[in-house]
Subunit: 200 residues, 2 copies
């Protein structure tokens, strides 16, 4: 059984959202499973000196256009969020808490969160919105609300983010296949060939 | 007759080099010509605040790996230059001087310069190397040597670079199709579809 594909993303990354709609199907076509790793891109940006796309002259304007064109190209619905980028701690902490306790709900929750932000224009930085999204996919709202106040849950996300950066992750989405790193959803053609051929 | 495709690149950009091997064939498949626009990426970086890839923690190491993998993926020979990045004024000034006086030699010269840097590991920041490369494709070496000292030739590159930045160019390669901007060689699948369908 080949190793799973590691998929890193920040919940506020449009390119991460677009890629998340395809990565599991892509992996399955090659007999692979995936492990999803939400992390805080802002912490990685402190290492690389990067700043959020909308703040960059020229590149920020281009990115807004490219994101929407890339979504159309990939057949993914997209509505640029009113609040963008936004803090994603609550969504990411919820994901790891779910993964540890109700594993089968973690990916459906993540996809619902991404949809809430990038299709429904809901502010997923808000704990109340995250709890609503979680409840709608079958999560015990009260238990998750309690978890979000737990220092251990906060520590979990911090150490996951530190581990991602230590592994070389500096952007979203970021994928590892048998140790080979691929930054960006636009590496999908290379990822496909890598999976088909075992490397090139 | 559809409008030509505008292709912007810096001679020290590996992704620009890889893309340059394909852009004219790609355009021709869709009945298009191309206009090549070398420019100075460093001037664009002053606008965006970007720094050269090798200086960026995590991203720099990734880029080196990604460049070589992308070259293999695209079937393009690549040897990472000993001196990288390097100043490209002499190559770019020569290009525009050729384009104005001996238009048919401009692209062969550009391709030979890129090959000198990214296959033969020659230092194309050196005027002598640029003159050698030019002479090998049939350029009058003495006339070009004289041109490289001409303030008008320097001004030409500066204004071409300013015009590129004014148009929104902030990276290499950068392509416009009927006004639609595409940054990066990894946008080739989108470019193909755009040319085939007239937009999506």
């Amino acid at each position: 059984m080949p190793a799973p594909i590691d998929f890193y993303f920040d919940f506020t990354s449009p390119y991460g959202y677009i890629f998340a709609q395809h990565i599991d199907d892509l992996a399955a076509r090659h007999g692979r499973s995936t492990v999803w790793h939400p992390f805080l891109l802002g912490m990685a940006f402190k290492t690389t000196g990067a700043v959020a796309l909308p703040e960059i002259p020229l590149k920020g304007e281009y990115a807004l256009r490219d994101i929407q064109r890339s979504a159309r190209f990939m057949g993914v619905p997209y509505r640029h969020p009113t609040r963008f980028p936004l803090p994603t701690q609550n969504a990411a902490r919820s994901f790891y808490w779910l993964q540890d306790r109700h594993g089968a709900l973690a990916k459906p929750f993540a996809l619902a969160c991404l949809r809430a932000l990038f299709v429904e224009d809901r502010d997923i930085s808000s704990p109340a919105v995250v709890l609503d999204v979680a409840a709608a996919v079958g999560v015990d709202r009260a238990a998750l609300e309690q978890a979000l106040a737990d220092p251990a849950v906060k520590d979990r996300l911090r150490s996951e983010t530190e581990a991602a950066i230590a592994r070389g992750v500096f952007g979203s989405p970021f994928t590892f296949i048998d140790g080979e790193p691929f930054w960006g959803g636009d590496r999908m053609p290379q990822i496909e060939r890598w999976l088909a051929t075992g490397g090139f």
